[in-house]
Symmetry: C2
Subunit: 202 residues, 2 copies
DNA sequence: GTCTATAGAAGGATAGAC
DNA sequence: GTCTATCCTTCTATAGAC
């Protein structure tokens, strides 16, 4: 997606907000037009249909999310430092885009083939294999137990993403006792240690 | 909700499926009627509106989810055994209701006050405090480090729920290499050890 | 490019017969 | 209780003037 005009950018920003918050089915073209300060006709002039507008937004957001996710892993630090950096960067990123995981995960669950259109299978496999290779190195060098890499990978991202997926529930469970942002903030520094304790050789 | 007639049960079952899979905004009354083998008029005869039908379904599903979640913690086993039992039971439950976490979490994020209508604040606090008290005991007796109980609680449920929230993404990331159900199955036995390693005193 | 006006489709809800 | 037929509102999309 290349955004050529100011109006197009405004539409795109408005659509991003609306789709992120309410999903494809819940978002309304009228609301998007209003947020962009235009009318529906102009909306359709730029993006021919709701579906096409959604595709454009989804492609951009999914790419952002996955690039950030795997980008945080692309360095040659030892695992503990890598995790510290990952959680710090990744959670900071999610704080700025709190609806992103819910949006991307839901829409992919609704329509799995959407993702394949954006990332080729090869590119995905490359990113995952890169992470796995790094974990293999750690195992080889005896820094961590010979863990199941798939499971560990899931655990690592579960711990950063889950609170954003479950925010409403968590706020209700803990009520006035705890502040959501404080809880999130602490995770930036504590999760790396949590993981390391779980997997390191003793 | 007390279901008085067969038709009412069929509607309720059909609505449960539809809402779980597509959410409130995405589900269609026509589709629910069809799945229940009736027409829309009859649907409205039993449940006056989509909103009311949704409320009934949501109340039942949210109650199911939270009862199961906290129910798995209600025993006096030592932490490691408790976690083994929790993950085994909870993940088995989620395998039977794979859409439940996505549905409940999303709808609460969309509309947080819905949950308060179902569970009173006191009841919620009681369930959480009960779990926290158990963790305090473990800390007192020196079995585990003096961890942040809120964080640990989040981590424990994140690890069982996240794969179901992210199923579409995970299936794409791992593609033909891994089978989703196999991955889930292994978590029933491995997660308790993962947590214990992370938190136990050495 | 942007607007007003409106067409057209889809979805939720109701009237009334049986 | 259950159906057919239909209404009404909401939403997406387009026509046509400027």
């Amino acid at each position: 997606m290349t955004l050529k005009s100011i109006t197009q950018e405004k539409i795109f920003a408005a659509a991003t907000q609306a789709f992120e918050e309410k999903g494809f089915a819940g978002a309304r073209m009228q609301e998007i037009a209003a947020r962009a300060g235009i009318n529906q006709a102009l909306l359709h002039y730029y993006f021919r249909s709701k579906e096409k507008l959604f595709d454009a937004v989804f492609a951009a957001l999914a790419a952002t999310m996955f690039d950030k996710l795997f980008g945080c892993f692309s360095n040659d630090l030892p695992l503990e430092r890598k995790l510290q950096m990952f959680y710090n960067e990744h959670i900071s990123f999610l704080q700025e885009h709190p609806h992103l995981p819910t949006f991307v995960l839901n829409e992919i669950n609704q329509n799995p083939q959407r993702l394949a259109k954006i990332f080729g299978a090869e590119r995905i496999d490359l990113m995952v294999q890169n992470v796995f290779r790094q974990l293999d190195d750690e195992i080889q060098s005896g820094n961590i137990r010979p863990v199941d890499k798939t499971q560990l990978f899931i655990n690592v991202i579960a711990l950063s993403m889950f609170p954003f997926l479950a925010r409403g529930v968590l706020e209700m469970l803990f009520q006035q006792n705890v502040n959501f942002n404080d809880v999130i903030e602490r995770r930036k520094t504590e999760l790396a240690q949590f993981i390391m304790n779980a997997v390191k050789n003793k």
